[in-house]
């Protein structure tokens, strides 16, 4: 009973393009393409920075740009985003400075590596699996209580659907009829675990039936299909129709994270085949086909993104190493219990690390790699 995989963009040969989703002008298509390129450029640069030891372990999202920029394009500015580590730079599309995200990966959190979630309606990057899904439901439920037209969309992987948090979030969302979009990026791998060992169902989308919500399966390498499915889900949610599960079927083109080597557990020729379907070039060819953009446009969009990210790297590296005084700043939301002041006094009385010692650019792979956790 494998569900149909919905797509918009054909292959320019035997598979014809479907109609441009309703509501998208040529200008929108170009805007969406720009976002894809910006995400791709950020990701490639971040991987390079990690290799040079300028940021810590990084979770790359190569090939999953369309599962981010596509659904986001369907969102209203009021809607809240709940990313996992795999959508780490999605806030950039909501106005977060890319240097902020890079600083987060650099470990220069404290005052520089975080955005204000309320300002950008983008929750912090979630690394523990599936734990942000109940949060997305709680937020949409709060909006419902307050009669605010706010939806939430949460991204997670195929592996996340095995967690209790996922099932409980799905059930609550459906029972409470809240406007949450569960956006599953089924890249068919959870670190070394293939989809077939994760679940006995053939698809993720069919699991929606157990919670009496619609389940839709789209081509995850097709940004427009991701857009269209999300757009319908949000409309339904806003009209009181409750949550939707979207499965964006694709493939994890790269490693799980920069500390991972997929050659240990999968056949790279399979990955190689999927790489030909990746969304950025696919969207570019599509736009060329439609005559919306020409080669020069593609070139200048690429150059523009490179410039933005180069500037971000510059800004990220200008951020000073945070000092020890920030250690207790955000443990509690109000004041510091007495024991903190004591701890701080003790810290200030010792001359031990951390002294101000920024991560230095290093040649070759970061030595931290081998020990770096697989969980990014």
């Amino acid at each position: 009973m494998t569900a149909e995989v919905l797509y918009v963009i054909g292959d320019g040969a035997g598979v014809p393009d479907n109609d441009v989703p309703e509501g998208l002008s040529n200008k929108d298509l170009v805007a969406l393409y720009r976002r894809l390129v910006l995400l791709r450029t950020f990701d490639e640069r971040a991987v390079a920075l990690q290799r040079q030891g300028r940021i810590g372990t990084y979770a790359l999202y190569w090939g999953e740009e369309g599962t981010q920029a596509g659904p986001l394009y369907a969102c209203d500015d009021r809607d809240w985003l709940f990313p996992s580590y795999r959508q780490n730079a999605i806030g950039v599309l909501r106005g977060v400075a890319p240097s902020t995200v890079l600083a987060w990966w650099r470990g220069y959190g404290g005052r520089h590596g975080f955005w204000n979630p309320r300002e950008h309606r983008t929750a912090p990057i979630c690394v523990p699996i599936a734990t942000h899904l109940p949060h997305a439901v709680g937020l949409a439920w709060a909006a419902k209580i307050r009669r605010e037209p706010v939806a939430s969309i949460a991204w997670f992987g195929d592996g996340a659907t095995s967690e209790g948090d996922w099932h409980e979030a799905m059930n609550f969302a459906s029972v409470f009829k809240v406007a949450t979009v569960f956006f599953c990026v089924n890249n068919q791998w959870a670190i070394s675990t293939p989809f077939s060992k994760q679940t006995a169902t053939e698809t993720i989308s069919e699991k929606a039936a157990a919670y009496a919500m619609p389940g839709v399966r789209v081509d995850g390498f097709d940004p427009l299909a991701c857009y269209a499915a999300t757009s319908q889900a949000l409309e339904r949610g806003r009209n009181g129709g409750g949550p939707t599960l979207i499965e964006a079927f694709c493939y994890r083109l790269g490693a799980h994270g920069t500390a991972d080597d997929p050659k240990l557990y999968r056949d790279e020729s399979e990955a190689q085949r999927w790489r030909t379907l990746e969304p950025v070039n696919r969207m570019a060819s599509y736009l060329l086909r439609l005559g919306v953009l020409d080669d020069d446009d593609l070139q200048s969009i690429g150059a523009e993104a490179k410039k933005t990210i180069a500037q971000a790297v510059h800004e990220m590296e200008a951020i000073a190493q945070p000092g020890r005084e920030i250690l207790f700043d955000h443990v509690y939301a109000s004041g510091r219990p007495w024991s903190f002041d004591e701890g701080l006094a003790e810290l200030q009385g010792t001359d031990r690390p951390p002294a101000v010692k920024p991560l230095a650019p290093q040649p070759g792979p970061s030595t931290g790699d081998a020990e770096a956790p697989a969980g990014t």
Binding site: G109, P128, T193, K197, T199, P322, E371, A372, P373, A374
Partner: protein, 329 residues
């Protein structure tokens, strides 16, 4: 003397698993990415090839399921060794561990047993941030029915894990991530021991430094520096927090008259309080020449910034400083 050679802590753990699987059909492994991948830290590398997928079981990402299913299999006499990819995720499975595994022998009136082991990489030092770096022993130390083991070196890791697998109770086996690559002399062949006993790793007369896991290495280094300052420190590796070997600790403090407890997890509610109380309630109290001291993690989550990360957990200098203060009276 049996033959010994230098291997890593991770290899020693693997040997214990290998020996147990070879000698007991009822032992099997379960966890996320433990098969081909060998686990997030490579501990189970090669065991899938040797024992097959039924005995080295890659699971879905379901911590509740991993622990709960281990409990069910253990109830009928299997000896599951389950793995949490990071000890922090034990929190996801807390009901199955604390309300089920720990309680079932009691709730079944002693008619059922739960002979399982839960292994988990623990502690800070890898830049993995607040949700992947905690030392969770004191979360669990207040639960009767569980045993809690935290080996500090390769030889102990092998003997303790062998003992844990053979034990008829649920045992939580916490492996410090920074120790995986440390080497030590380890005997060839299976051996078991150490469960429930602390060990004096360095003898001294002036102050007893009580610690476990990665902190043992910092305490030993501190003992070296203290020697240069004319202070003769004794280092005790607790090894098993539950059951706690009170007599070794009390005996040492009765001799030195001074107690310094060192642990990585935050001070408040940390297991150091238990050790301090144990000593002050014991006969060693009469021998105390100075107030008891604790050196512990700061009251904050572990930051991801590598430099700040070092600053929140005890370092050698902190231990030296505290010992000097105790001796100064």
């Amino acid at each position: 003397m049996p033959e010994a050679r230098s291997i890593t802590y991770a290899e020693a753990i693997r040997e214990a698993l290998d020996d147990a699987m070879a000698s007991d059909e009822s032992v099997f492994l379960m966890g996320e990415d433990i098969g081909v991948y060998g686990g997030a830290f490579g501990v189970t590398t090669g065991l899938l090839q040797k024992y097959g997928a039924d005995r080295v079981r890659d699971t879905p990402i379901s911590e509740i399921g991993i622990v709960g299913i281990a409990v069910g299999a253990a109830l009928v006499g299997m000896r599951p060794v389950a793995e949490m990819q990071f000890s922090d995720f034990t929190a996801n499975a807390m009901d199955q561990l604390c309300n089920q595994a720990a309680k079932l022998h009691f709730m079944y009136g002693g008619k059922a047993q739960v002979p399982m082991v839960l292994r988990a990489p623990t502690g800070s030092g890898t830049g993995a941030a607040a949700q992947h770096s905690q030392s969770i022993e004191s979360w669990l130390a207040n639960v009767p029915g569980l045993k809690i083991v935290m080996p500090s070196n390769a030889a102990d890791a092998k003997g303790l894990l062998t003992a844990a697998i053979a034990d008829p109770n649920p045992v939580v086996f916490l492996e410090h991530k920074l120790l995986y690559k440390t080497k030590g002399e380890v005997e060839v062949g299976s051996y078991s021991g150490g469960l429930g006993s602390a060990v004096v790793t360095h003898e001294g007369r002036d102050v007893s430094i009580v610690c476990w896991s990665a902190m043992v290495h910092k305490a030993l280094a501190a003992a070296g520096s203290l020697k240069d300052q004319g202070i003769d420190a004794e280092v005790i590796d607790v090894r098993t927090l539950r059951p706690l070997d009170r007599s070794t600790i009390v005996g040492s403090v009765s001799k030195t008259g001074r107690l310094l407890v060192v642990h990585e997890s935050p001070l408040t509610g940390g297991f150091g309080g238990e050790i301090a109380a144990t000593v002050t309630e014991s006969d060693a109290f009469d021998f105390l020449e100075a107030p008891v001291k604790r050196v512990a993690g700061l009251e904050t989550p572990i930051p991801s910034n590598p430099e700040l990360e070092k600053g929140v957990v005890p370092q050698e200098e902190d231990i030296v400083k505290a010992a000097v203060e105790i001796l100064a009276g």
